[in-house]
Amino acid sequence: MLASLGYGALVITFLVSLYGVGAAIYGVTQNKASWVDSSRNAMLLTFPLLTISALSITLLLIQMDFQVEYVASVTSRSMPMYLRITALWGGQEGSLVFWAWLMAAFASAVTLRDWKRDREFLPWVVVVSLSTLAFFLILIIFFENPFVRLWQSSSGEIISAVWQPAGTLPFIPADGRGLNPLLRHPGMIIHPPLLYLGFVSFVVPFAFAIAALITGRTDDRWIRVTRRWTLWAWLFLSLGLVLGGRWAYDVLGWGGYWGWDPVEIAAFMPWLTGTAFLHSVMIQEKRGMFKHWNMFLIILTYDLVIFGTFLTRSGVLSSVHSFAQSAIGPLFFVFIVLTLTISLWLLVRRWAELRGEEQINSFFSREAFFLFNNLIFMAILVICFWGVVFPLVSEASGLIGQAIPALSNVFTGQKITVGPIFYERATGPLWAGLLVLMGIAPLSAWGASTAKTLGRKLWLPTIISFIPAVVIFFLGVSGAALLAFWLVSFVTAITLYEFWQGVGARVRTKGENVFAAFWALVGRDRRRYGGYTIHLGIVLMAVGIIGIEIFQTETQGTVPIGGEIALGDYLVRYDSLADFNTPDGRNVARASISVFRDGEYLTELNPRRDYYFESQQTMTIPGVRSSIEDDFYVLLVDWQPISTQSATFKIYHNPLVNWLWFGSVILIVGTFVAAWPEKDRAAIRENKHLRVQAPASAD
């Protein structure tokens, strides 16, 4: 019953989406406003409809209705309630529905905005959003249907079908297979939804960009309308990435948070273009330049979102062959090629109208620095993209070798692995370059800016930034680490200097106290100071990344009970090991170890190994002692199951890693500051006054 309801809602949403696309195009070409309004209502309707569908699955999961194949594949009787709910995005079919549901939420939210001044955009925003939604609904309804049920024919054969085939009876398995244990972690509750939110919310600025291209309203209106959407999208995507890293750190048991895994990079690529976009739209708003480039960036971001979903959902990563076998892989491929071609064709058609209104006058101007920033982000993107795609290319190239035997030595079709070393080596200097730009750019002026004017602002914070660097040098840090830490203090010094100067100016001219001046300063230009706050967050994250990348140490050893392993100042003593079964279907081996530092007792840790009987999977849960200075991270690698007399531990010392998580909190705060709706009329007037003056002074 529920399954039929959910499936029905899916099909109706699909039809409504198609209707919406048709009505919008008909309305705009025949100039019939009522049809456009009708398409808008169609888009509004998709959210409640898909909510019915998503709720149906969720209820089926909660009730553990194992006749539904999806439910049987991701839940089991031993799973607690919260995991049964999050199983909605724990498997292929469910996560596609979840994706579509979030997409519909954003599409519906967009219809509710005030369209009075952008009516010409409306039909095309509907067309783009609903086409994207319809594509995902095709995948769900025809290929990855979560409402497929199990039926048993009279001959005992089990059949999966949505509706009951003739001569069969419902088949209800005694228990489900259960969720992948890797996904049974609190981090899994919020990590995928945030990532998906980031993904789908980038569809909104894309839809407006396409609407601008089609209607020819190519001023910066589409950017102003979507500025906040883009910022939220960026925040969701950033948080999705950070939480994914946190989850990996807590659950995957390899002592790190980021392994340059293709799945991670799939989500990282739209973040790269999205971040570049966030910066370069400012050039268009302030200087009327780079209009082509902004269009290109948002088109690229949209297609990287689809591409990322494609990479993780089609199975192409594990093997090109599984891609060819899955039905949705080629469909994704066609959709990406189609949307990319159409978007770029639209862009080329408007090329002349998108000509810049200004030129770059100086390589020391703000716009020039933004341009370099974009260039670096694109370079990192190229490296990431090629690193992810090349293994697939190398595997697929075997087809050439097969077809032309003479070339079979070159095109062996042997898949290769592109590991972290490749990415780290290739992108390391680029990240350093971004830090340099992050430091200098805020001090540069729009339009004309010379090395001299820039240097005048730069010298003081630069000198200040050397102080911590010198201290660190005398602590014994040198080489790349010293450079990296100096860059961090450089950016921090300049960013704080900017705050300091602003506050100082207000205190002097308006006689406010420091706190009031700070509050007013940030309130008057939220975007700017929100951006600076985000930069500070990024810099703190960089401290954590430098700490673990350069200073991580590790050791492994097998010791008897009472035995000790040393790592740096730390010492670990193996005290005992408990081996027991839990009611939720696990065998747990849990070690107790004492941690000492410089001979002083610190704490007890309990690294453990969980073995899930249902799925026959093992999970290695580290024992971690966290402090602002470092993480002491212990894994139970192996033990003698019978005697439990000796065990093998792997120990990591991860200096400064917690700054990464702390920095991401600052990043959230900064984004909120930048994206919070402005209500204060006076502030707006003041702002406007400044904006009108700005171009005059720049020319």
């Binding site: 905005r113 005030d114 001044r117 952008d118 001023d219 910066d220 209106r221 102003r224 995957l252 048991g253 390899w254 002592g255 392994g259 799945v263 990563l317 594990s318 109208e353 000509r355 810049g356 209104e357 030129q359 770059i360 260039l375 694109m378 370079a379 190229v382 490296i383 090629w386 090349f390 293994p391 290319v393 190398s394 030595n409 070159v410 062996t412 042997q414 898949k415 290769i416 692995t417 592109v418 590991g419 972290p420 070393i421 490749f422 290739a426 590790e554 050791t555 492994q556 050893g557 097998t558 190994r609 093992t618 999970m619 290695t620 894994l635 690698v637 792997k650 406007k688 009108v692 005059a696």
Partner: protein, 162 residues
């Protein structure tokens, strides 16, 4: 009597020492876990995707690590261990693609694309800078953009509304 006891003890001690030193000395010391991990860190087994061999908890990977231990104990160098696994399982066991044949593309394509981007940007910038004098005028005519400050301000105000 005393010296005889001493000689006897010495003999026993020597006898005991011989097998111990025989175990310890001739081949290099048994490799430590850290030495094995240092090698395994740069390897991936073909089954556990994207999990480096040094941290992979599966049984298959454990056997691979045991194999590395054996090879190292026999005196193989790090490179010889890699060669051994590449011979048996192919290039994909290496974290870093070997610089041979088609694999060169992984190293060549990104710098080429990035350089091409920089060159394209350079020419684009040069083109932008040339028609400084002519461009603004024609632009204004073409799009009919408001020129005076009042209109600009109005536009701004309207833009601010939403």
């Amino acid at each position: 009597m005393k010296s005889r006891l001493f000689l006897f003890v010495l003999l026993i001690a020597l006898l005991l020492a011989v097998p111990v030193s025989a175990q310890d000395n001739p081949p290099p010391d048994a490799p430590t876990d850290d030495e094995i991990n240092a090698v395994a860190k740069n390897m991936y087994c073909p089954v556990c995707e994207n999990v480096p061999l040094d941290v992979c908890p599966t049984l298959a990977c454990e056997q691979w690590r045991a194999q590395i231990r054996e090879l190292l104990a026999e005196g193989a160098t790090e490179q010889e261990v890699y060669d051994y696994f590449v011979l048996h399982y192919g290039d994909r066991v290496l974290a870093e693609p070997p610089r041979t044949g088609l694999n060169w593309l992984i190293y060549i394509v990104p710098p080429v694309v990035i350089l091409a981007g920089i060159v394209a940007l350079y020419f684009a910038l040069r083109n932008w800078r040339k028609p400084v004098a002519a461009a603004p005028q024609s632009q204004a005519e073409k799009s009919g953009e408001p020129e005076d400050e009042y209109m600009a301000r109005l536009e701004e105000e309207l833009a601010k509304r939403n």
